[in-house]
Symmetry: C2
Subunit: 193 residues, 2 copies
């Protein structure tokens, strides 16, 4: 038995003991908004944005990037579960600024050679410029933090499946202070049309 598994299950047991009436929470987010942010261990969106269970959809991936999968989740969030405002929140000192696609390809060169794709629609890879039949993966790294927020807000804003009238707010989280810092160009790019 893994120590981590033991610890997680013990913590969960304590959570269950104090669960109270949270079992009656409804499926749609009560506060009708969603946050897209990074998987980084230092970020706790519930704490940094003041969320209780039942409030808000939280989507997280490496970088908090507006990948297709994040947009899949946001579209479901809006269309089926009623969110009406979205936040994109990247952060300082992000791992995605420390490397690039070339570094990942080197690290994974052996595995990438044997990687194969299926055609089931799960894949972020694809054929096209820079895509070598699935041997290429876009790791969605970035060089400039503020620009990465602008880029992602723009990608969401312009996406054909995203409603024009939903506001998208662009911020980054400062890991040194815990503060959410507004990215002016992203706020501009994310205004409801």
């Amino acid at each position: 038995m893994s120590k981590i598994l033991d610890e997680v299950l013990a913590a969960n047991q304590a959570y269950v003991a104090g669960f109270g009436n949270k079992g009656s929470l409804a499926l749609p987010p009560a506060r009708q908004f969603a946050i897209l942010t990074c998987m980084d261990a230092r970020l706790d969106p519930a704490k940094y944005a003041g969320l209780s269970e039942g409030d808000t959809h939280v989507i997280r991936n490496a970088g908090g990037r507006a990948s297709d999968d994040a947009i899949r989740s946001l579209v479901i969030s809006y269309k089926l579960l009623g969110t009406r405002e979205w936040f994109v929140i990247h952060h300082s000192d992000c791992g995605m600024q420390l490397f690039d696609n070339a570094i990942m390809s080197d690290l994974l060169s052996k595995s990438l050679e044997t990687a194969s794709i299926d055609a089931s629609g799960w894949h972020d890879t694809g054929k096209g410029p820079g895509c070598d039949e699935g041997k290429y993966i876009n790791w969605l790294t970035f060089k400039n933090l503020e620009l990465s927020v602008v880029e992602d807000v723009q990608r969401i804003r312009r996406h054909a499946l995203v409603p024009k009238n939903i506001p998208i707010y662009g911020f980054y989280y400062d890991v040194k202070t815990g503060k959410l810092v507004e990215v002016a160009d992203a706020m501009q790019a994310g205004r409801a049309l």
Copy 2:
């Protein structure tokens, strides 16, 4: 100014005021594990699994599915940031059980007609069976909760970029009780090889 934006920024201000020494947390997750779970508003992984800031990578999307983007994040988590155990945690009463690709296509029929793909590698869509040049999106819905956990653990386990020796644990979260319930077949499928 949006009420939600006001509330989030006010909550953030309070968080900053009590931030303490969290600014010195390191980038790699201190407890060296990662959780893939659903964006559902009722789930707070930090609370249900006992996580503090700095402990753990948390990846979330609609359904907690092992999409390419989730696997991108997990591979980065392992390879660059040192996680050595992974959890896949779906949950009861998931929105992804309430609909299917046909329902989403109906809801979005107008938008889907105008949707276009680029070839930048962000896309979960693709050409292939069931994929009509990007007009098709796999929404990754599911019918059977436990089976969906098994399926995702298997997809991660078999992925060419995933190390064979990392254990993957399969659970679902019961929204009525807060309890993490082990999915035996998923635990079996996720054993280190």
